[in-house]
Symmetry: C2
Subunit: 218 residues, 2 copies
């Protein structure tokens, strides 16, 4: 870690990155949230990110990379409504190299605001399924970031070794407004309650013994 | 190198990446060109990239990341007309971590077209000035790409050890239509002839002993 106390946090609007943003503020960092549109069906997560940032007394910089839908559309159900969603993990919910794309923009942003630190919400429950959520990935990426900017960039997922329900427990102690976060892969009025992300959200509330404030369709 | 003979080439519309695309085709690769808008003043380079792709009997996939201008605008003269351009290198012509952003999208694209290889136009004359043009950078990035996709991604700048004028010589032997490439950082009718990129273009034609077909304002 650097003595520099500015950080960019990749803030999706979901609970995991919200907890990371609150953790960073709690650690004394000046937080620069950064949110991406990438053609995801779940447009509501961007609105949730804005609300979370407001609760942190800041704004999130929203970068519209919706053109990437042209690429992601080929393989992923998160942007292509013709690819079916399921309640369990399937490779079609992997958005290829998404975290690297977001982190690379975060690095560029960090250099312009003179932040040495970039935090994101990868955690232990995602690691088995999403290769760009693993510590070995982001450590390699950090090395590339340092070489590619000649700056002392630190990239870190502070909850790499925690399960999602453990994050939720931490979130509760940090008073993260989990009720305003959005997890669903769809764009309904309420969380669908059936997609893999809704299932994981329900499970994390249940296992952390926190009352789930979410309204689900199912 | 992999046995897979598909490659994504980051094609800017400038001579260096055009030569790499021709090199790749000459090596027997099926070339998937990929071109980015990132808010650059030099909008003509995208048109040049299209023409180069047509000359290679293909199309370039143009990805519009113009929203990144919001970040690059802070520090770089290539997107912000209020930051003066000069004829020599200055840090204000560095677009922070640009190659990493482009390469990360190229990796995502490569996974969807099942290409193992990504080539880009970094070369020895750029290496001292642009950290994300160096071999040590792209080798680190390749490692991150393999970890982040669990695929055998190769990232390579085939002319890393060549000077720009040496590329031009190779380009001439490969019959690259250098006359349709665009180098200028501005968007005039002709190349300005004064910006750092025009100066390097002139120099490379001169040093390679190739007649310069470019029309310059100055």
């Amino acid at each position: 870690m650097s003595a520099n106390k500015k950080c960019v946090v990749v803030l999706s609007g979901g609970p995991d990155s919200a907890i990371v943003a609150y953790w960073a503020k709690n650690q004394g960092y000046q937080v620069y949230p950064l949110t991406f549109k990438y053609g995801q069906i779940a447009a509501k997560e961007t609105l949730a990110a804005q609300k979370i940032a407001e609760n942190l007394s800041t704004n999130t910089k929203i970068i519209d990379l919706s053109a990437l839908k042209d690429i992601f559309n080929q393989t992923t159900a998160l942007v292509n409504r013709n690819i079916p969603l399921t309640s369990e993990f399937t490779p079609t919910i992997i958005v290829p190299f998404r975290n690297a794309i977001f982190l690379s923009v975060a690095v560029a942003y960090a250099t312009t605001v003179e932040a040495d630190n970039i935090f994101y919400g990868a955690h232990g429950s995602d690691e088995p399924f999403f290769p760009d959520s693993r510590r070995e990935f982001y450590e390699a990426f950090e090395k590339a970031a340092r070489l590619g900017t000649e700056q002392n960039i630190n990239i870190h997922a502070p909850y790499s070794d925690k399960k999602k329900f453990e994050l939720f427990k931490i979130g509760a102690t940090l008073n993260v407004p989990l009720e305003i976060t959005w997890s669903c892969y769809l764009d309904g009025e309420k969380h669908c309650g059936l997609c893999e992300s809704c299932v994981n959200r329900k499970k994390a509330f249940y296992e952390s013994n926190i009352a789930d404030p979410t309204e689900y369709e199912n």
